[in-house]
Every structure is written in C-alpha cells, then in structure tokens.
C-alpha cells in the first residue's frame, strides 16, 4: 500500500489530518497538470483547491470505492475540473505574479519567466483542440503517463485514448499547414 492509500485509509478511520498529507504529497503535480492545460498557475490553483474539496466530500460521503488508485482518482477529478474551467473562464493577466517573483534570485526568476511563457504557449497551442484530446495529449506527451492510466483517468478505453491522440496530432498538423 502506498503512502497515499495509507493516508486515505487513516482519514477514513477518523484521522482528520491525514487528508492534508494527501494534499501536501500531490498538490505540486496536480497544479502543474492543470496549469499545463489552462496556461497559468493562478487558475490551476483555484481548480485544484476545488478538486480537493470535492475529493474530501466524496470520501466523507463514501463515494470513493477505492478500486482506483488514490492518485489516479485525484487526477481524474482535476482533469474534469480543468476541462470545466477551460470551458467557463476568461483569461487572467498575470501581472501581480511577475512583480512578486522578481524579488527572488535572478536565475530562479528567469526559469519562472520561461515556465510562464511555456505554459502560455502550451495552452494556446493545445487549447484549440477539443478538451478530451488536449487532456489525452498533455497526460501522454507532457506528463509522460501510460495509456492504460490515461484511460482510467479519462474514463474511457485505451483504444479511445489512442484515437484521441491520433486525432489531436492530425488537428495540430492541419493547423500548422493552414498557418
């Protein structure tokens, strides 16, 4: 049993602090995933915070049957919430974040600036794909997840994942030829 499964087990037995262990262990990966789809960290943090509250509620209501791995389950909640957010939102201007981060060491600021530009580029480039194709492509090629796990996260078959990847690539190629 992994640390995450153990923490969830303890939470379900009444240890209220165990859920925070899950948050501490997974928040970096989940915010990064959401930011890679939305294009900025602030929106990703909002989405992941809501996802944790939803997961917490599901655990208390007994809706998580523990058949899936905890991490896969959290990824699923975050991907769905990110797709919903992508449909709803209007883009945020990250001016305040830039000011805050310029206080750090020069190299760190440079890598953060580069990361921010890369997030924007990634979200703009893949944001024109249908959400399910964008999610499949980010999980496979950017996050490096296996197709079987992506299928579990997206709630579809492995074949459907492969099909989404093929279609996503075809759409990107077509856009490239058009531009």
């Amino acid at each position: 049993m992994s640390d995450l499964e153990g923490a969830i087990g303890r939470f379900l037995k009444g240890d209220a602090t165990a859920f925070q262990e899950v948050v501490d262990a997974t928040s970096a990966r989940l915010v990064r995933l959401s930011a890679r789809m939305l294009g900025n960290v602030a929106d990703a943090e909002d989405v992941v915070q809501e996802a944790y509250v939803k997961a917490y509620r599901s655990l208390l209501d007994g809706q998580f049957d523990r058949r899936a791995k905890v991490e896969t389950w959290l990824y699923r909640i975050v991907v769905n919430a990110t797709i919903d957010a992508r449909r709803k939102r209007t883009r945020r201007v990250p001016a305040i974040e830039v000011e805050e981060e310029t206080a750090g060491p020069a190299q760190e600021v440079a890598s953060t600036q580069e990361a921010r530009l890369a997030l924007t580029e990634l979200a703009d480039w893949l944001g024109e794909l249908p959400p399910d194709q964008q999610a499949a492509l980010v999980l496979k090629e950017v996050e490096g997840r296996e197709s079987v796990e992506i299928a579990e996260i997206l709630g579809c078959s492995e074949g459907a994942v492969e099909q989404r990847l093929v279609r996503a690539r075809a759409t990107l190629r077509q856009r490239r030829n058009e531009s």
Binding site: F19, Q20, V48, Q49, Y52, Y56, A115, L119, R176
Partner: protein, 93 residues
Amino acid sequence: MKDQDENIDARLERLARATEVVRPRPDFGARVARALEAEQRGGLLLELGRPARRILPALALAAAFSLVWAVESDQAFDDALSAYADETVELEW
C-alpha cells in the same frame, strides 16, 4: 508527415521540460486547509440540520392542528360572549 510529427514531438518535449519547474505558490497548502475547514464546518451544520428536517412534517401537522383548535376555541368563546350579551344564558342549577 513524419517530419511534422517529429516537430510536434520536439515542441511538446521542450514545453514539458520548460514547465517542469511549475509549482503552486507557497501558501497553497494553507489555502486548501482553510477551504477544507470551511467545508468541515458546513458539513457539521448540515448534520445538525438533518434531524430538524426529519421532524419538520410532524411539526407542520402539529401547527395545523393548533390553528384549527385556536379557531374553534375562538368561535366557542365568541358564541359564549354573544349569548351572555343577549342575556340568553341558561343557568345551570
């Protein structure tokens, strides 16, 4: 087509590397903890509200009976009062 695929792969790989350093801001854990506390308080209020909601139909029925009883009592009192005013009260011996 293969070249184009490689271009897509290369671009994805570059963007994956560049975004590897992305992290939530330092106060994010505390922010989630506050949201979970708020959720816990909301859940507690909901739990307390649940028994009250269960007896709500019985309370509504009791209120309806009380209203009927009050109207009937009021009517009986009015009848008694008007009978007294008309001096038609029959004295019981």
